[in-house]
Amino acid sequence: MKAPGTALRWLAAAIVLANGCFPALWILATSFKSEVELTARPITYWPRDPVIANYVAAFRDQPLPTYLLNSAAVALLSMALSLTIASLAAYAIARLELPRRRLVLTGIVAVSMFPLVTLMVPLFDIMRGLGLLNTYWALVFPYAVLSLPVCTLVLVSFFQEIPRDLENAAMIDGCTRVGALFRVVVPLAAPGVFTAGTLAFVNSWDEFLLALSMNSAVAYRTLPVGIQMYQGEFSFPWPTISAALVIGMVPVVIVILLFQERVVSGLTAGGLKG
């Protein structure tokens, strides 16, 4: 196609940037407005008198560090579990003589299409029976399964690109196959491991339904659940909620800033979830 003019390109960039960033920027602006400014009419777009009182309130009104810690613990544990199990499975699929390879792949896609809402009901029942409600494990295991398909598919595509010679050389030097997997293949597939890990982390960090159903006790609430708790029955302290939202967005923004190219390639390779 003929290259469009510079003006059109700037306009296109402006539209895409505004669409993606505006809600986050609006919340950022709101988080610096005082209660007085917030309830002034007409509304102001940019804070006239920036205050940090809302951030203080965000930490005072709810145990925000606990929520952040719980979210991080659950996301990191489930990510580690998912990556370990997925790299073993992906190696078998990508490298070994595997009868019924197609069936295995179809099974993985089928798991990824399974509705979480349906799973939530019996999982709640089972976790309740095992006394695991309000523990990290009630979320770590389901989240690991949630990310298992996309991690496996991403890792399969990365493993397939590693030359077999390197692995064979390691085995001639006395490594076993499993040893070669963890000493040669996984390190060489590091970009793939980062990609899969990032997707798994974001999946868990964002999850709300299971977190709300399984872990209702304050000490085990994750951030998406905790952030809903600022509202009282009749009050919506919007400036405080905005400050808490900004804090909750920080880890996500860091992750996508660091890994943006990998995330895009992983999303399109896995072609899953959304």
Partner: protein
Amino acid sequence: MSRRLRDRILDPPEHVLAWALLAPALLLVLAVVAWPVARLFANSVMDVRLSQGLPVRFVGLDNYAAVLADPLFWRSVRNTMVIVIATVPGALVVGLALALLANLPFRTRGPIRLALLLPWATPLAFTGLIFAWFFHSEYGLVNDLLARVGAGPRIWFNSPGLTLAAICMATIWKTSSFMALILLAGLQTIPASLYEAAEVDGASRWTQFREITLPMLVPSMLVALIFRTLTAIQSFDIPVSMPGPGEETATLAMYIQQQAVDYLDLGYGSALAVFMFALSMAITSVYLRYVRGGGR
């Protein structure tokens, strides 16, 4: 342990090793998916009301009959369908527009890519809260903009219709950027030579779009649409964060969660969840038929 035995364990025949490596994944799926699903079907034909402390008893298809006769079930299905019908095509159209804009030849792609990733990475529950604030009746941005063009303010969350409209807009914003990323990857696989040939033939831009771009994008669009539909029927986070009057705008997922978790009625909740299961299996089978038909 003798050295030979050790070697046999550490270096087994290939297909044995393959299944051994797959075993942890299979075990996890059995424990967290297969067993719960069996439990789900078992509970759906039982009376399991944990809050009442009554003994669990077999009731056959009573729960299913009760679901079909339950107006709240049908209301939640209707709300869910409104969200599906509005947001699946909505996200496709917005996502396609974003993908076409992002595919223009920019010198640096970083900021554009970040702008497409940010909505994808924003938790759904955050998105719901952010949009609830946009649609706030007194201090919200939307009513402020409406006032600027001379329209009166709306009390969005007092009317089920307006609440659903706001929920749909939030959902489209959140999901269209993922759609755009998938379609952008599709766009980048279209060979430039096709456009050059069309250019030589004097085809207009619109013709090029209709005759080259759209047909070439069909496979990626179908895959994206199926996954979007599967997540849309499970809409929960955004509608929960943007409550309308009473429970008028509850979705099927919200109704299931309320019955099973809040009211601890696991029998009824399981029967409801089976309906959700059937719905998504129907959509999945369409997808699998398409994949087996050699699409993609």
